[in-house]
Assembly symmetry: C2
Homo-oligomer: 433 residues x 2
């Protein structure tokens, strides 16, 4: 054996196969179309940033998971671990040139040195859309409509957006006289679905200053109800005249009204007082998206409102609201739903008829492509049988064989239907149908 370098990827990293990459590209394009249809413009930022830009923003966990090193010029650098910190840096750096309200989307890979586990990778994609500037329920509602439109454009079945407002939760705690306990309580609530009511209850009851009856009360107030009207009634009762709580409820009511005005089905949005989102920086609405067919796969998107995006880099206060679509979970869902297609193969293989008649094959293929039908000519000399085997292996649905005498023999592999055509243009109707 010669000394070969073992071809392999790093632990926690992976290649995307043609089918996987094809599906991801299609998800990305569909999302891009929706984002653009709502007036969001793309930006891109470098994968590498000064480490100081990325550190201290995402909390201790992300610092530990950062891929960081000293480059050959002696700079401390790191790979971005999300697209929010680069957005913050971008807006702070370019704010003089940007037009506010500033709507942007950004899709690309991010890197985290997490302990590898099933379905989690050290390189994964994020697809974010945010609107920076307005502190209004209008902007919140816009993000909800955007998310509903986004999932509707994908091949993943119906999706429910679960929405809450952090101020309802904190208003409620304020009313119960335990506002100081807000952070640990929100964290415990966030894990409720994963760990169950009982664990959550114990965790909440352990929070300093909380009685067991307060824990029970919190768990009851934040559970799912039969419908939004009932939920809102319970929440209104719970927050009473607490201003913060009332503002949250008003935002949820407003969002619901505007989502309905945009013609979205009532079932696409559910007010769920148990949605807390672990991240500390959310201050208004918080949201999670769930596939109705695969609720157990977990959230396939999330988002919320924040008070100040870029406080680390600028004195300008930059409030905003945004969402992030979970592309990698959606890819896993497509696998499970057997949706998204193999699709990476072209529609037609034109077999190689030998050197002399190869120009006819090239002409035929070009005519199909001009009509929007993807097509390849077998690029090597091989027995006809071997070429048919190739078509079958790749899942190419149609095979065209140049005949003697300038005609073409067409075969649909799914049912064996055949036809003879004089040219590529002639074949278009049959193949497209």
């Amino acid at each position: 054996m010669a000394d070969f370098i073992q071809p392999r990827t790093l632990k926690g990293f992976r290649d995307l196969s043609p089918d996987q990459a094809y599906r991801r590209a299609n998800l990305v394009r569909a999302l891009e179309d929706v984002f653009r249809s709502h007036g969001y413009a793309p930006i891109d930022t470098p994968a590498m940033e000064y480490a100081e830009i990325l550190k201290g923003k995402g909390g201790e966990t992300s610092d530990k998971e950062l891929f960081e090193w000293t480059d050959k010029g002696g700079r401390e650098v790191a790979l971005r671990f999300d697209l929010t910190v680069p957005l913050a840096r971008y807006v702070a750096e370019h704010q003089g040139k940007l037009t506010f309200p500033f709507r942007r989307y950004h899709m690309g890979p991010v890197w985290r040195g997490e302990r590898p586990q099933r379905g989690r990778f050290r390189e994964f994609w994020q697809c974010d859309a945010d609107i920076i500037g307005p502190e209004t329920a209008t902007a919140d509602a816009e993000i909800l409509v955007l998310m509903i439109d986004a999932y509707a454009a994908l091949d993943v079945g119906s999706v429910t957006i679960r929405v809450n407002d952090r101020r309802v939760l904190t208003g409620m705690l304020d009313k119960l006289g335990v506002l100081d306990a807000a952070v640990p309580v929100l964290r415990a609530l966030d894990k409720r679905e994963k760990l169950g009511d009982e664990v959550s209850r114990l965790e909440i009851a352990e929070v300093e200053g909380l009685t067991e009856s307060a824990a029970d009360r919190i768990l009851d107030l934040t559970r799912k109800r039969a419908n939004d009207d009932e939920t809102l009634a319970v929440l209104k009762d719970a927050v009473g005249d607490n201003e913060r709580g009332l503002a949250g409820i008003e935002t949820l009511e407003r969002a619901r009204e505007l989502v309905a005005a945009a013609g979205k089905p009532a079932s696409s949005l559910v007010i769920d007082p148990g949605i807390a989102r672990g991240l500390d920086y959310y201050t208004g609405i918080v949201l999670e998206a769930q596939l109705d067919a695969l609720p157990d796969i977990g959230s396939v998107g999330s988002g919320g409102r924040y008070d100040d995006l870029a406080g680390l880099y600028t004195k300008s206060r930059l409030p905003g609201v945004g969402c992030s679509v979970g592309i990698d979970r959606l890819l896993a869902a497509l696998d499970e739903l057997e949706a998204g297609g193999r699709g990476a193969a072209p529609a037609v293989l034109v077999t190689n008829p030998g050197d002399e008649r190869l120009p006819e094959a090239f002409r035929f293929a070009a005519a199909l492509r001009a009509a929007g039908i993807s097509c390849e000519v077998f690029p090597d000399t091989a027995k006809h049988k071997a070429q048919m085997r190739y078509a079958d292996k790749r899942g190419i649905p149609y095979v065209v064989t140049p005949d003697e005498g300038g005609t073409f023999f067409l075969k649909r592999l799914s049912d064996g239907a055949t036809r003879t055509c004089a040219s590529g243009a002639d074949a278009v109707g049959w193949i497209a149908s």
Copy 2:
């Protein structure tokens, strides 16, 4: 002043503004459509690889330019500097699962720690398409047709693909009895356009074993002629009965014939015996793409045939041919041609009519989007004048103002034309026209 972290990118790195990112996304999508129409399927590979995978393949220069470090698990890792080495690793690793001929495209960022200079960045995109397996002129011709189709799908005017075959050059040198000097001669030829005939001549004359008259002869044989027929006649004469040279000429003739059969204009392909391509691994055709409107911007794409893709990782010999479209140079060209559009703005702004009538605005916007018209509602309360100023600043062409009484006032900002509509659906014809 508080202690802010200075928001900035690393030296040699850059952000893409909304307009730039919009243009790049459009280039990428157009290329993706063309690649797919030819039966190419996408793959993706990680940005990070084991350093040993990436080292020693691209030559000393790329090793020096590698971003490499030791990760927290003690592994020597690096960022990919092109998409060809990852393709080699990918094919070697997964060859048992792949169907050959294997056509793949791959688009994404790569990283090189080059000395920053105008128009060169340390992070840039590559867009590659390759076909692995066949050693045929058919596959070579397919890559040429693919490249011609690719540029035709972009908004960059007419493009000339200049093609040569390395074997013609080496056959010619063989015939002159100076085959040993092939590598330095090819390198000198490669720089001819940049440095001029005289410098090239001196460089060639300095190659060991070459007389000045041989240098003159090489320069003469490899200069551009009036047309391909003349070029081919000169080259045939020069290679005589040299087998390698004849194989090269036959490939060029075949490629020309098949490109014409695919209906491509004769002007899109030119045989240019001076094209050498500096990279050592090309063994057959070599090609470069040039914008007819901006020849001085340099090559906007290149490619060629190689004997063995993945010899470092596997004993399987994997010949192939491929091309790489220079996205970043094309973006610079779009800037210079003032093409590609600003485009990142939506078609319509619906102004914010105040809380009470906001649902009407959301309904109107949804109807436009359903008809494929991009649209945003101003998400904040602001004077009507300020909202108009925003539309103007972002370059939004239409503004819709919800009127009292349920109608909508439409204005086209380019010419001030106006209209009144009852609903979004009602407005579609006028806005789309």
